[in-house]
Symmetry: C2
Subunit: 390 residues, 2 copies
């Protein structure tokens, strides 16, 4: 979704960042997953900005969404000069201030941006895992992040921060490792997918699996299921926007012509935009990774896994200060879902700040430069005095 980010943001960049990676769970110490399967070795790609202070109290873990990566801010030291996906938010003097905080962001387990996922080589066969890769959960992603933090010497987190699927990871962190997490920022997210959100993910998966090039996940030495993945991405893109944002951005404007084509070319700008987004996505993302990550998001159910069906019970072990932010036009994870988690947190006596931001841009709003959002983030993190909350 980084294509939306304009770079007119406040503050200065974190500058050049290094791609780094940690490999762990080397045989025979395989990582055991929620499904019961084991994998290893596991590589987690990550990047850091700022410095961990001597007391180890200033670490911030940023969790990316579905198709994101570890490159959260700054530009790479090698030829790629594209700023990170949250560059407007992360940097010296920005909402997440790298002068004050040691920022860590890693690519999630199951992805394809440097961390181990279905496109990685299965050591048992010497070939890419494909569908032999076990179905991972948000909990598995978080367990892998914990291993990374252990490696970095981080044993407490000033904050875990994420939007969308990243917010699910932040939620999981807050209840899975409650003593490590001092505060959690949950943007445009939910404790569990609605039937509507599952439906969109399922149709996107069906689109990939309908592509004969998908070949039951075994396509790494042949044609890739680009057409199916492109349609899946287009479906996603619609859900990231909103009726209003699409009206403002595209309306019924035609693409380079004064009248209809009377064929099946892209007549409208919105059609052309979606086709472009679909085409662009297949160059950078793996179709199987899309299947695995959307499945993990659909499986995520804080109530089920931590509260036996109850949201209140799910937060009973949490100790973090919470900031929950929703966006008015986000119909993928509407405000009522954020309100429900806030209510459950409050019933546990937790310190919760909630903010619904008036925004036209739908679910994507958390990725768009916003002084309001940066200000709220800064204020919340400044309020964190580094002491346990109770």
């Amino acid at each position: 979704m980084s294509e939306y980010i304009r770079h007119d943001q406040q503050g200065v960049s974190v500058g050049r960042v290094e791609k780094q990676a940690l490999t762990f769970a080397r045989p025979p110490d395989a990582m055991t997953l929620a499904c019961g399967a084991t994998i290893g070795p596991v590589t987690i790609a990550y990047e850091t900005c700022g410095r961990l202070n001597a007391a180890g109290t200033n670490a911030v873990l940023i969790l990316h969404a579905l198709s994101g990566d570890a490159h959260v801010a700054g530009t790479y030291t090698d030829s790629d000069d594209k700023p990170g996906w949250w560059d407007f938010m992360v940097g010296p003097g920005k909402g997440i201030d790298t002068e004050r905080h040691f920022v860590v962001c890693s690519n999630i387990l199951g992805s394809c941006m440097g961390s181990t996922g279905p496109a990685s080589v299965d050591p048992a066969t010497g070939k890419p895992y494909g569908l032999n890769f076990p179905v991972v959960t948000i909990g598995d992603m978080v367990a892998a992040q914990k291993r990374l933090l252990d490696h970095l010497g981080v044993n407490r987190l000033c904050a875990v921060i994420g939007g969308s699927v990243g917010g699910m990871q932040a939620l999981e962190w807050s209840v899975r490792y409650p003593d490590m997490v001092q505060s959690a920022v949950l943007l445009a997210t939910t404790t569990r997918h609605s039937a509507l959100a599952i439906a969109f993910n399922e149709v996107a998966r069906q689109s990939i699996m309908a592509d004969p090039n998908w070949n039951n996940g075994d396509y790494y030495h042949g044609q890739k299921p680009d057409l199916g993945l492109a349609v899946a991405r287009m479906i996603g893109h619609i859900t990231y926007l909103s009726d209003e944002s699409m009206r403002l951005k595209f309306g019924r404007r035609l693409q380079d012509k004064s009248d209809f084509s009377f064929n099946f070319d892209a007549d409208f700008q919105v059609e052309s935009y979606l086709r472009y987004q679909g085409r662009k996505f297949v160059d950078r993302f793996d179709a199987n990774a899309f299947l695995y990550i959307t499945k993990a998001a659909d499986y995520f159910d804080l109530e089920r896994h931590f509260g036996d069906g109850s949201a209140v019970a799910a937060f009973s072990n949490a100790r973090a200060r919470f900031l929950v932010v929703s966006f008015t036009s986000d119909w993928l994870y509407p405000t009522y879902q954020s309100r429900a988690m806030v209510k459950a947190m409050k019933k546990n006596g937790l310190d919760v700040s909630f903010c619904e931001i008036e925004a036209r841009w739908g679910h994507d709003a958390f990725l768009l430069p916003s002084e309001r959002l940066s200000g709220i983030m800064k204020g919340f993190l400044d309020g964190d005095n580094g002491l346990p909350n109770r």
Copy 2:
């Protein structure tokens, strides 16, 4: 969408109906379309219920939606005993009373349910048209319906009634043949698709066109693009429901198991439902027809074609009494779009009734048995005294 209809409705059925068809525009009298192309012969499949009175003042034309057909009410005289798609609304004593009205419903031009469309044989080649079928418009569909009414001896319409794409046809009727249309009922529809609605249609089309079996529309003697069409239908189904209806109907309930499968089977009931709807659709509908009808819906733009961009100007020739009905949870054609058309009608001094029905079931609500909707329909049609309105 007829799979939603329960048959606990009031009134009695219209009984057995005959499939009928009219073929016109035989060479050399081809039908000229909005795109400039000509086709012929054109067959329009239709059904009628009730009788045209001697004065010819009681005819009602019902217009079906995207995947509908002419079989609006009653059961066929042959083996198929499935009631018509609007059987709860159309029959003796029902909302559209066949004791009083002569009801006509025909399959739209470009469809595949008996009327001429891309799956029909092109007389020029002796093979199915495929993509050689010209891109038709809502206006072309209405022009074909006009030919059918001429054939039936109907020269005035007590009412044109349609929902969704059927509502677009009713709108087109009201401004294209204003002297023929005494009243128009517009359910869950719009004067022009929003960017969001176009986006969903485009992704569905891309899904069909991504299927290699689609073969540029030339698949009638081989494997059909069933997988692509199924995904297209699934996308449609999501848009016909609502967040709330999906939560009530499915929630996060699992399909026949107590835990996740940890594979890519359908875990959730909503996934299973969508897969079923997709599979079922391909048995009855033609993929090319889906492309053509969605394109016609996207092209429909009453403001552009009748008002030079102005909704007020577009209705300046209309003479009908209007009933506009929207449904609270319809996010495909939200109430604000109905309000906009009502406003434009009122600025022309037209007699307009508007009703927003509180409904959980999203866009599909107009197809679901509802005493409220039947009552509103009956009341509106009763108020039509058969005299011109001005």
